[in-house]
Structures are given as structure tokens and as C-alpha cells.
Amino acid sequence: MKLRDVSRARLAGITPGVVLGLALALFACGGGGDRNVIKVGEFASLTGNTATFGQSSHKGSVLAFEEVNQAGGLLGKKVELESEDDQSKPEEARTAVLKLIRQDGAVAILGEVASSRSLAAAPEAQRAHVPMVSPASTNPQVTQVGDYIFRACFIDPVQGGTMARFAYQDLGVRRAAVLVDVKNDYSVGLADFFVKTFQQLGGQVVARESYSEGDIEFRAQLTKIRETDPQAIFVPGYYTEVGLIAQQARELGITVPLLGGDGWDSPVTLQIGKDAVNGAYFSNHYAADDPSERVQGFITKFRQRWEGETPDAMAVLGYDAARMLADAIQRAGSTDPQKIRDALAATKDFPGVSGNITMDAERNARKPVVILKIEDGKVHFVKALEP
């Protein structure tokens, strides 16, 4: 092997040249704007470790805009949904939003499911004054980024607090254990506010154990929880894990009810959990057994569009966020981002699948929290609680 001595100056001279060349190629790719369509951007985790949630919300949004276009579009124009994948990475989310705003000229942005990626991207939407609607980011900080950031879901304090009140007041639970997905900000957020509210009410949190997304073995944590003899276990995780957790809990002879949040809302919970999830309660945006046309119609349409797939909570929220945005553009009577923002902020009693949505002063969706119970392999409505 022969080594050549390289002039450092030459080496350095090459770098900017190469970078500049690549950069020019990138810049040349900027798309032009079509005047007859309204461009809405969407960023979602279509690949990567949380792809299943991003794909769900994406399917909901796609369905929503297809409906809008079938009904004649908005302001006499078709809506074009430009979707970008962020590979479940925060920096990619930021890049995607910048691209949607700058290259595609999106008038508004939908996204993201995960609060971490919404937090990474929201400052850019805010800086560019383009309204952004997150379907499912529950961390309160997301909309605190600025007055252009909205969400179509509850925030952690609302959902966690409601479940704590339900457990304490309706189920009479005084000793609760918490099993949290430590790699997931949604799960950690719900757990924190559940614990806070539950303790304020006078309850005792006897154990706080954790797992990581993708785990399949929870017996060690559950055995530890069993020792503390709780009256209920709060598992604010996603449907990808809760079924297995329920099964293993029953196997270990834990019979107390499991409690959860909207992350449970998916057929997968029942398919994996089977009998083990019977008797469990979870909070959600709507009840699938709600006979109203709004809910049943949505479920039917979703199944038709996506090969018989049953919508989960992410799909519902993706759909509602898109419909809410379409409604705001219609009311704004313009595609001017600032007018869309004002119209979004004025959203009142918007009839979403996930309930009647009203934007509060913090740009969070206010809607009742629905408590559901799983019995005989079916999900039943228990009660609706105002936040």
C-alpha cells in the first residue's frame, strides 16, 4: 500500500466545492406552485421504529382529503396532500417540515404523532408562520412553541388526570401501580400526570415499573408489581405491547383491572390480549360501539379505503386533524396561512369522529374523554368525562 502525502490545502479546497455542487443540485429541485390546488403538507413516521403509528395517522389524513376532494374540494380548488416520511427521527421531521414549507409551498402542515418529532419541527412552522396541526402529540409543550401550532387530541394532563379520577372515584382504587414505556414520551407523560392526580386525590402509587417499546417479556416487572398488591395497574402504553402485558399479568395471577389510555385503541389489543384484557378500562376519544353515523360511517369508509383494516386511535386523529384543517381553510375563505391560523384558533364544536372539538386558548383540542371497558372481547362505552 502506497501512501501519498496530500496537501491539506487541496483537501480543504475540495470540500466546499463538492458541498456546493450537491447543494445546487438540491436547490434546482425546488418545485413550482400550481395555482389550482391547495397544497397541504404532512410529515409522519412512515418508516422506522414507530412506523405503525405514522402509517395509521397517514391513512386517516389521506382518507379525509380524498373525501374533501370528492365533495368538490376547498374554495373551488382541489387539495393536494404532500406527505413526507421522517423515519421516526426528530431531525428528519425538522427537515421534512422545512421542505414542505419552502419547496412545496404548503399552506398548512399536518403532523406528527410523536411529541418529540412535533417539538423538533414546530419551531420551524412557527418561524415561517405556517399553521401546523398535530393529530396526536400529547405533550403540553408542543403547542406552547407558538400561536401557529395546534393539536387535535387531548394533552397528557387531561387524559392522565381523567383516568386517575376515574380510578379513584368510580372504581374506588386507593393503591395503584404504574407500568410505563420509558422510551416513549407519550407513555411517560400520561404516567406522570396520572401519578400526580392520583396522589393529589389521596391515592397511593405503590410501584412504578418500566419497559421499552418492542419488548415482549414483562414478567419480571409484573412479578415485582404483584408483590406490592395494587388494586389496579395503569399501563399507558401502545397496543403493540399492552396485549402481551395483559396476558403475562393474568398468567402470573394478577386479577386486578388494567387501566390504559388511547394508545390501547386498536384491534391488536384484543387480538393479542384475548381474555386477558377483559375487565380492563381505557380512555379514548370515541367509542367504536357509538351508533352515530359520524362514527360508524367513518369506520365503514376507512375499511373500504384501506383493505378492510379497522382504524385505530391514530387513524381517527389523523382523519380529524385533516378534516379540522379543511374546515378552517373553508372558513378562512383563503389560503393565506395567517387567515387559516385564525380560523383554526376559532374552531368551535367541530363535529369530529373523536367528539366535538373546540380549540381552547392554548390551541389544544377540548373534547370529552370517553372511558371504555373491554368485556367479552368487545369494547363498551362506560362514560364520558368532561376534562
Binding site: 415482549i216 414478567r219 419480571a220 415485582k224 402481551l244 398468567e251 395471577g253 387480538q271 393479542i272
Partner: protein, 300 residues
């Protein structure tokens, strides 16, 4: 005290899963001196093929030993072919290349299956068919043991014995040992190197498939990224027991399962994932040959 025994049972059962995956790992490594990074993905493909074959053949409607054996057979045959194909495409051309090269293709193969899997199968988790009813078969006070836990441990031990027989007592096993000991000399003695290595890969991959099916019995969730962590941890288990040693893989797997369970049960569940790598580093520094391995001459 009952809690401790329950944790021990949890740990041993969980370790059985690592042991199953580690058996295939250790065999391939023993012969080729190559970490087959894609072993975890073959395990995933095993579980996937079990899922699809059970769906297409309607096996889940008739749970029982026959259905389980059918699913096992299909998955093992499919993965044996897959493993041999991976070896042919990604590793064989690099047998004379520097050692980093096949390691990098191994990572490439692993990434390929994870991402192509997400495209082909979808990212959403699938519910593995219940081919065997879960029952509690043993109970001491509050400590319960299920039939699935026993099946996993039983199959792992049986495979360990069967493999030891293959490696120690058969012609092809002797060829495998010869290749592992000194590839050049074995070739000179007329051992068909390529065929022996392909066979080793097929066998190792069939074991991974068996692990995939058995794991999805007790933990019925199948998704394209399921192989990554178990694959890495099973490798640690193989190193702990002594890489290349079949009883070592068994022992290493069970010890890993116990260690993870005890860390989660008595220290903090947040550090459960870290313990495997701590064990790896400690064992490599203190006793690189592993618990049951022979001190290698040129390794490490």
C-alpha cells in the same frame, strides 16, 4: 421468597428463548468465525413464515401438536433455504476478503430484511396464531409454570442434544469440526468446504426459525423489527457460554435470561436492556473464551 422463585422461573423461561437463538448463532460462528448479524432477522423471518403458513393453511383453527409441528416444519425448511441463500450471496464471495467485509455485508443483510420486511409485511405488529393453548401445568404456592415455558426449555434442550450428536457423531459433523479447526487443511483433505458451510448455515437458520415459532407461541407478537434486540442479546448469550460451544449457548442463554429478570425485578427495570452489554464486556475482558469455551488460540 416466593417472589424470588417466581422471578427465577421467569428468568429461566425467558433465557430458554435466548438459548434457542444462541444455538444457531454459536454453530455458525464456530464454523465460520463470522457473526451472522442477520441471524436475528432469520429468526424474524421464521416467525413471519409461521404466521403466514398458519394463516394460509388454517392451522390456527386446529390448535395442537400436529399444527405446531407443521408450522415448525414449514418455517424451518423455508429459513434453511433462506440461510443458505444469504450465505451464497453475501458471505461466500467474501471468504478471502478482510474480516471487516463480511461483517459489513452481514449488517447490510440485517438492515435489508428489517426494511424490506416493513415494506412487504407492513410495520404493524401481527398476532401470531395460537397453535398451542397456554395452560398452567405446575404450581408451587404462588409460583406458576406454564406449558409453553416448559415446551420452550424442552425443545431448546432437545435441540442442544441433537445438535451435539450431529456435530460429534456424524460425517457431516466431523467435516464441520474440521472446517472450524483449519479450513485450508480440511480443503486439502477433500472436505467440500462450500457445502459444509452452506449446510451449517442452513442448520443454524432452521434453528432460528424454530426459535421464532416457539417465541411467538409464548409472546404472540410478530413484526419486522422483532429480531434486532433478541439477535444481539442471543449473541451475547453465545459469547457468555463460550462461542462455538453448544451446551455453552444453552447455559449462556439461561444465565442471560436470569440476569435480565433479576435486574428488572430487584434493581431497576429501566436498566434491563443495558445488562446484556455489561455482561458482554465483563466476560470479554475477564474470560474471553466464555464459561464453557476452550481458550482459542488466535481469537480475541
Amino acid at each position: 421468597m416466593e417472589a424470588f422463585f417466581q422471578q427465577l422461573v421467569n428468568g429461566i423461561a425467558w433465557g430458554g428463548i435466548y438459548a434457542l437463538i444462541a444455538l444457531g448463532y454459536t454453530m455458525v460462528y464456530g464454523v465460520l468465525k463470522l457473526i451472522n448479524f442477520a441471524h436475528g432477522e432469520v429468526y424474524m423471518m421464521g416467525a413471519m413464515s409461521g404466521y403466514y403458513s398458519a394463516r394460509w393453511l388454517g392451522l390456527s383453527e386446529r390448535p395442537g401438536a400436529a399444527s405446531l409441528l407443521a408450522a415448525l416444519g414449514i418455517a424451518m425448511a423455508f429459513c434453511a433455504a433462506l440461510g443458505a441463500a444469504i450465505e451464497r450471496v453475501a458471505y461466500r464471495p467474501l471468504r478471502r476478503a478482510p474480516r471487516l467485509a463480511p461483517l459489513i455485508t452481514a449488517i447490510g443483510v440485517s438492515l435489508f430484511f428489517q426494511n424490506a420486511g416493513q415494506l412487504v409485511f407492513g410495520a404493524d405488529p401481527k398476532v401470531a396464531p395460537q397453535l398451542l393453548e397456554t395452560r398452567e401445568v405446575l404450581r408451587f404456592g404462588e409460583v406458576g409454570v406454564t406449558n409453553l415455558q416448559l415446551v420452550i426449555l424442552g425443545v431448546a434442550s432437545a435441540l442442544c442434544v441433537a445438535l451435539t450428536f450431529v456435530v460429534q457423531r456424524t460425517r457431516v459433523g466431523r467435516a464441520m469440526r474440521a472446517v472450524a479447526f483449519d479450513r485450508e487443511t480440511a480443503a486439502l483433505m477433500g472436505v467440500p468446504i462450500d457445502r459444509v458451510i452452506a449446510f451449517t448455515f442452513a442448520l443454524g437458520s432452521a434453528l432460528a426459525a424454530a426459535a421464532g415459532i416457539l417465541v411467538s407461541l409464548s409472546n404472540p407478537k410478530v413484526d419486522p423489527l422483532m429480531g434486532l434486540m433478541p439477535g444481539l442479546k442471543a449473541f451475547v448469550a453465545a459469547v457468555l457460554g463460550g462461542i462455538g460451544s453448544l451446551p455453552g449457548a444453552m447455559l449462556g442463554g439461561v444465565l442471560m435470561g436470569i440476569a435480565e429478570t433479576l435486574v428488572a425485578g430487584y434493581l431497576s427495570s429501566t436498566y434491563r436492556d443495558a445488562i446484556a452489554f455489561v455482561i458482554l464486556i465483563v466476560i470479554l475482558v475477564l474470560r474471553p473464551a466464555g464459561l464453557l469455551g476452550h481458550a482459542a488460540k488466535e481469537k480475541v
